[in-house]
C-alpha cells in the first residue's frame, strides 16, 4: 500500500467516522436541531372579540398538519385587548424583548385605526411602516362587525315614545334628565339613564363610541382635532359620559356586562353587533326583557385586519406561514363559522341571509344583514384619536 492510498483510505475512514458519530450523537441527544425538521411557529395576537373564533380555526388548522416547504406550521393564538397590544407595540415590549418568540408573527387588532397608530409610531422610529397597507402582506380584514345600539326593549319603548328615535342626541338628553327615568316617562325603579361605553383606554370600542358621537354631533363623517377640542363639544360629551355607570371594571366585555348585570348597569349602549347577536338569547333567558338593535346614522365598525409583522424579528418562512393561516381564516368553512358567531364575513361567498343566520333569527329585534342608508365614519387621524383619549383621561378617567 503506497502512501497515496493510505492517505486516501484514511480520509474516507475519517469521513465515515464523522458522519457516523454525528448521526449517533443526533440520535442519542435529540438536542441538535435539524433545520428542516423544526415546525414553523406562527404566533398570532388576536383581539378579544374574535379570539374564540381564531382559536378554533387555529386548532383545526394545526390538526390538519399543514406544511410549508416540508415543514409543519403550528399556529398559537394569544388573546389580547387591542389597546393593550397597542401599548406593547408603542413601548417596544414585543420588538425589544430578549426572546424572539415574544414577537408576534401576526396581529389581528379590532380595527385598522390601531394598525395605523402602530405604523405612525414605527415610521417615526424606523422611517417605514411595519404593517403593510398594500401588496401580498397587506393588512386584510378577516371579518367585520358594525357598532349598533343595543337597548333593553322596555327602555327603548319609553325613549322612542319621547324622542321618536334612538341616536346620540337622544341618549344625551336622556343622560342629563335631572330626575332620571321618571322624567323621561319611565319607571322610578330604573333610576337614572345608564349608558354603556367601554373604557377607551382598555377597549377600542370606547374610542369608536366617542368617534361616532362626534360624527353625529357635527353631522359629518370626518372629525378633526379642532372638533374634539371645541369646548361646546367637550361639554356635551362630558354630560353624555356622565351617565356611564362604571369605567373601572368595564373593559372588553361590555355586551357581556349587559347580559350578566342586565339593566341594572346599563340601559343600553353602542356596542359590537356580533357581541349583541350572540348574547341576545342569553339576555332574554336571564332578564326576560329582550334587547332592541338600532343601527346608527353614522356608522363605525371593527374590521379585524390580519396584519403580518414586517420586522426582521420574524423569518420569511414565518411570514409566509402566517399568510397561509390568513388564507385559511378567509376560507369558506372558517368564514361560515365566523358568521355563526355573528360576524359579517370578509369572504363574499358566505351569506348571512340564510334561515340559520343570527341576523335573520333576531330580525324582529332590529338585526339586519343589509344596513340601509347610513354614513360611514372615516378613520380619524392619529392626532384626533390622541386628543379624544387625552380628553377622556382628563375629564372622565381621572374623575
Amino acid at each position: 500500500m503506497n502512501r497515496t492510498r493510505i492517505i486516501f483510505f484514511a480520509v474516507i475512514l475519517l469521513a465515515l467516522i464523522i458522519v457516523g458519530v454525528s448521526f449517533l450523537v443526533s440520535q442519542l441527544s435529540g438536542n441538535i436541531p435539524s433545520p428542516t425538521a423544526q415546525p414553523i411557529q406562527v404566533r398570532v395576537v388576536s383581539a378579544l372579540s374574535i379570539e374564540p373564533w381564531v382559536q378554533d380555526a387555529a386548532q383545526k388548522f394545526n390538526a390538519e398538519k399543514r406544511t410549508q416547504d416540508g415543514r409543519t406550521i403550528v399556529v398559537t393564538v394569544t388573546p389580547m385587548d387591542s389597546v393593550v397590544a397597542l401599548g406593547k407595540w408603542d413601548r417596544g415590549e414585543f420588538t425589544l424583548s430578549d426572546s424572539r418568540s415574544a414577537v408576534p408573527t401576526a396581529w389581528i387588532p379590532d380595527s385598522r385605526y390601531l394598525v395605523e397608530l402602530v405604523n405612525a409610531t414605527y415610521s417615526a422610529k424606523l422611517g417605514r411602516d411595519v404593517f403593510l397597507t398594500d401588496g401580498e402582506y397587506r393588512a386584510r380584514p378577516v371579518v367585520t362587525s358594525l357598532f349598533s345600539w343595543g337597548i333593553y326593549d322596555s327602555r327603548y319603548q319609553v325613549l322612542t315614545k319621547k324622542f321618536q328615535t334612538v341616536d346620540w342626541k337622544t341618549i344625551h338628553d336622556a343622560a342629563i334628565a335631572k330626575g332620571g327615568w321618571p322624567d323621561l316617562g319611565g319607571d322610578k325603579s330604573w333610576g337614572y339613564f345608564k349608558l354603556i361605553v367601554p373604557n377607551p383606554r382598555k377597549n377600542a370600542a370606547g374610542l369608536l363610541a366617542m368617534v361616532s358621537a362626534a360624527g353625529e354631533y357635527y353631522d359629518k363623517v370626518t372629525i378633526s382635532t379642532e372638533d374634539v377640542t371645541n369646548p361646546q363639544f367637550q361639554k356635551w360629551l362630558k354630560e353624555l359620559m356622565g351617565s356611564v355607570t362604571d369605567f373601572s371594571s368595564l373593559s372588553a366585555y361590555s355586551v357581556e356586562d349587559l347580559a350578566l348585570f342586565g339593566y341594572s348597569v346599563g340601559d343600553g349602549g353602542q356596542l359590537l353587533e356580533s357581541d349583541l347577536l350572540v348574547n341576545m338569547q342569553g339576555i332574554q333567558t336571564r332578564w326576560s326583557d329582550p334587547l332592541r338593535i338600532v343601527y346608527p346614522k353614522y356608522l363605525t365598525w371593527f374590521d379585524f385586519p390580519f396584519t403580518i409583522w414586517m420586522g426582521t424579528e420574524t423569518s420569511a418562512a414565518e411570514k409566509n406561514a402566517a399568510l397561509q393561516f390568513e388564507k385559511y381564516l378567509l376560507s369558506t368553512p372558517i368564514q361560515t363559522a365566523a358568521a355563526a358567531r355573528g360576524f359579517r364575513p370578509a369572504n363574499t361567498e358566505v351569506s348571512i341571509a340564510g334561515n340559520d343566520s343570527l341576523f335573520v333569527k333576531w330580525q324582529g329585534q332590529g338585526a339586519n344583514a343589509r344596513v340601509a342608508s347610513t354614513s360611514r365614519m372615516r378613520a380619524p387621524d392619529r392626532d384626533t384619536l390622541q386628543a379624544l383619549l387625552r380628553w377622556f383621561d382628563l375629564n372622565v378617567g381621572a374623575k
Partner: protein, 558 residues
C-alpha cells in the same frame, strides 16, 4: 517486477513511520471531534436544564368564596392536567381579604388573583405604566344587598315600597336600638355600603367627586351614621356566621352579597330577605385574572387558560349556581326549579334594577381613607398575662412582641389604648389615653413585663370592663384584648358572675367587646370563648398570622 519485489527496508521503515503519523493525526482528530461533539451535547443539555420552568399558578382569592374555591381548585388539581411539555398544571390557592390581594399582587406574590370584584383590578394597575393585570374572565356574579329580617323589612314597607340606603340610614339614626353592620372597606360589600353613605351624605346618586368626599358636611353625615354601626367584622362570611350563631337579636340588618342570604336561609329557620337598594347597588363579579409578573412562563399561561376554561365549564357553572351565585353561563336559567335564586329563598332574580355609579380608583381610595377617619374611634384595654407560666417556651417574649407590634400598628391618633398587666392580681394599670400621647410609654411598660406568680385572668378582665363602663364613652367602640396562656386560678370573681355582669352591662351600659388571644396548649378555651361569646368578640390561638395582623383584624370590629 524486480522493483516491486525488491523493496528497500529504509523505504518500508519510512512508510511505516508515515502510517503511524497519519493514524496518529487521524486518531487525534477523531478524539478532538468526539470531544467537540460531546461538548456540544453537554452544552445543549445544560441549556435545556438551565432554564427552569413551571406551570404552577399561585392564586389568591377572596375570603367569602372559600368553600367554592377550595372545591374548584381540588377538582382542578385532581384532574392532573399537563402542559404539552409534560409539566403538571397545578394551582396553589390562598384566601385573603380583597384589599390584601391588591397589595400582594403589586408585591409580586401571586400569578393569578380572584378578588370579589373587578374594582380591585383597577387598583392593582393604579399608577402603573404597564398594566399588571393580563387576561381575565368572570365566572360568578352576585349583587350586594341589605339583608334584613323579613318582619323588620315589612315594617319598613317591603315588598310594596322600594327600600333604599336612605331608609336604612334614617332608621339607624332615629332608632337607638336598631343594630346594623357592614363589612370594612377591604371587601366589595363594605366598600359599597361606604360609598352609599358618601353618596347619601353628598345628596347624589352619581358623579361623586373627590370634593364631595372631602366635604365637611358629607364627612359629618358619614361619621354620624358610622356611630350607629354595631359591628364591621372580618368580611361578610364572618358576619353571617355570627348571625347564625347568635340569632336575630344580634343584628337587625347587615350588608352582604345575595348569595349569603340564600346560604343563611338554607341553614336557619328564621328568614332573611334581600333588599336591593332603590338608589342602586353594586355587583360582586368575581374575576379570575392572570398577572403579568416578571418571569411569567408560557406554561403558567397555559395553566391559567386551562383553569379559566374549567371555571367556565358547564360542570363548574352548575356548581356555582348551586352555591347561590349567578353563573356567567347565560344558558343556565335562574328561574329553573332547581335554581336557588328564587323568592322563597328571600331573593329575586329580576333584581337589582339599578346600580350606583362606580367612581374612579382615585376617588375610591379617598373614600376608603375618609371612612377610616369617619368611623368610630376606640377605647382599647390590653390585658396582659404575666403569670409564671408565661416565662416558659418563650411565651412572654412572644406576647411582648405581639403587644409592641399592636401598639406600632394603631393608626392615626384617635384611638385610646390602656394596659392592664396581671398575675396574682392586677398591678400598675395604665388608663386609656390618646395613643399619640402615650405610645412610647406603653411600649416601654410592655418591654418591662416579667413573668411570675399565678393567673387572676377574670379579675383583670373585670377590672378593665368596669373601667370602660365607668367611662361610659358611647361615641367610641370599647374593646378589651386579652393575652393569656394559662388556666384561671387566682381570681375572686367567677366566670359565670363575670359573663352575667358583662351581658347585663352591655345591655344597659356601653357595649364592650372582648377579644382573647391564647398562648400555648394550656389556655382554657372554655373561659376564653365564654368571655368572647358574651360580647361578640372572638378567641383565637396566638399564631404568627393572627399576631402580625392583630390590629388590622381587630380594627375590622371597631
Amino acid at each position: 517486477m524486480k522493483r516491486k519485489g525488491n523493496r528497500n527496508p529504509e523505504v518500508k521503515k519510512t512508510t511505516g513511520c508515515a502510517l503511524l503519523v497519519v493514524f496518529g493525526v487521524l486518531g487525534s482528530m477523531i478524539a478532538a471531534l468526539c470531544g467537540i461533539v460531546f461538548l456540544i451535547a453537554v452544552l445543549s443539555s445544560s441549556e435545556t436544564t438551565s432554564a427552569p420552568t413551571t406551570a404552577t399558578i399561585d392564586l389568591a382569592y377572596s375570603l367569602e368564596k372559600d368553600a367554592l374555591m377550595q372545591d374548584i381548585v381540588a377538582r382542578f388539581n385532581r384532574a392532573n392536567n399537563k402542559t404539552p411539555s409534560g409539566l403538571p398544571m397545578k394551582i396553589n390557592a390562598t384566601k385573603m381579604e380583597a384589599a390584601d390581594i391588591v397589595d400582594a399582587a403589586r408585591a409580586g406574590k401571586f400569578t393569578a388573583i380572584s378578588p370579589d370584584s373587578s374594582l380591585w383590578l383597577a387598583q392593582v394597575d393604579a399608577g402603573r405604566d404597564a398594566p399588571l393585570v393580563g387576561e381575565s374572565t368572570r365566572f360568578a356574579v352576585t349583587p350586594i344587598v341589605i339583608a334584613m329580617w323579613s318582619d323588620a323589612a315589612q315594617a319598613l314597607g317591603y315588598p310594596q315600597k322600594q327600600i333604599g340606603w336612605q331608609d336604612l340610614l334614617a332608621k339607624a339614626k332615629s332608632d337607638a336600638n336598631f343594630k346594623w353592620s357592614h363589612p370594612s372597606t377591604s371587601s366589595a360589600s363594605g366598600l359599597l355600603a361606604t360609598l352609599a353613605e358618601f353618596y347619601a351624605g353628598a345628596n347624589k346618586t352619581r358623579a361623586l367627586t373627590e370634593d364631595d368626599v372631602k366635604n365637611r358636611a358629607t364627612l359629618d353625615y358619614v361619621a354620624a351614621l358610622e356611630k350607629t354601626v354595631r359591628y364591621y367584622g372580618e368580611g361578610e362570611q364572618a358576619t353571617i356566621d355570627q348571625v347564625l350563631a347568635r340569632g336575630r337579636s344580634y343584628l337587625d340588618a347587615f350588608v352582604v352579597s345575595e348569595r349569603l342570604v340564600i346560604y343563611f336561609n338554607g341553614k336557619s329557620s328564621q328568614k332573611l330577605v334581600a333588599i336591593y337598594p332603590a338608589e342602586g347597588t353594586l355587583w360582586q363579579d368575581h374575576p379570575l385574572a392572570l398577572l403579568e409578573q416578571p418571569g411569567l412562563t408560557d406554561d403558567q399561561r397555559l395553566t391559567y387558560r386551562r383553569l379559566r376554561d374549567f371555571v367556565l365549564s358547564p360542570e363548574i357553572q352548575k356548581l356555582i349556581l348551586q352555591s347561590g351565585y349567578r353563573p356567567v353561563d347565560l344558558n343556565l336559567r335562574l328561574d329553573d326549579p332547581a335554581s336557588p335564586i328564587k323568592k322563597s329563598n328571600g331573593v329575586d332574580p329580576a333584581q337589582p334594577q339599578t346600580t350606583l355609579q362606580m367612581p374612579s380608583a382615585a376617588i375610591i381610595e379617598t373614600v376608603q381613607a375618609s371612612w377610616y377617619l369617619a368611623k368610630r374611634p376606640a377605647n382599647i384595654y390590653l390585658v396582659a398575662d404575666t403569670s409564671g407560666s408565661m416565662g416558659e417556651q418563650n411565651k412572654m417574649n412572644q406576647a411582648i412582641d405581639a403587644l409592641t407590634t399592636f401598639l406600632d400598628q394603631v393608626q392615626g391618633d384617635r384611638d385610646r389604648v390602656g394596659l392592664v398587666p396581671f398575675s396574682n392580681r392586677v398591678y400598675s394599670t395604665i388608663a386609656p389615653q390618646d395613643i399619640s400621647a402615650q405610645r412610647a410609654m406603653l411600649k416601654s411598660q410592655v418591654k418591662a413585663l416579667r413573668a411570675s406568680g399565678q393567673t387572676a385572668l377574670l379579675d383583670a378582665v373585670s377590672f378593665a370592663y368596669d373601667d370602660l363602663q365607668k367611662r361610659g364613652d358611647r361615641d367610641r367602640i370599647n374593646a378589651i384584648v386579652v393575652m393569656t396562656d394559662g388556666i384561671e386560678n387566682s381570681s375572686s370573681i367567677k366566670l359565670s358572675q363575670l359573663t352575667d355582669k358583662v351581658r347585663r352591662g352591655n345591655a344597659s351600659g356601653v357595649p364592650v367587646v372582648i377579644f382573647c388571644i391564647g398562648y400555648g396548649s394550656d389556655a382554657d378555651w372554655n373561659v376564653l370563648n365564654a368571655l368572647a361569646d358574651a360580647t361578640g368578640g372572638f378567641a383565637r390561638r396566638a399564631d404568627p398570622d393572627t399576631i402580625s395582623k392583630l390590629y388590622k383584624i381587630l380594627s375590622t370590629y371597631f
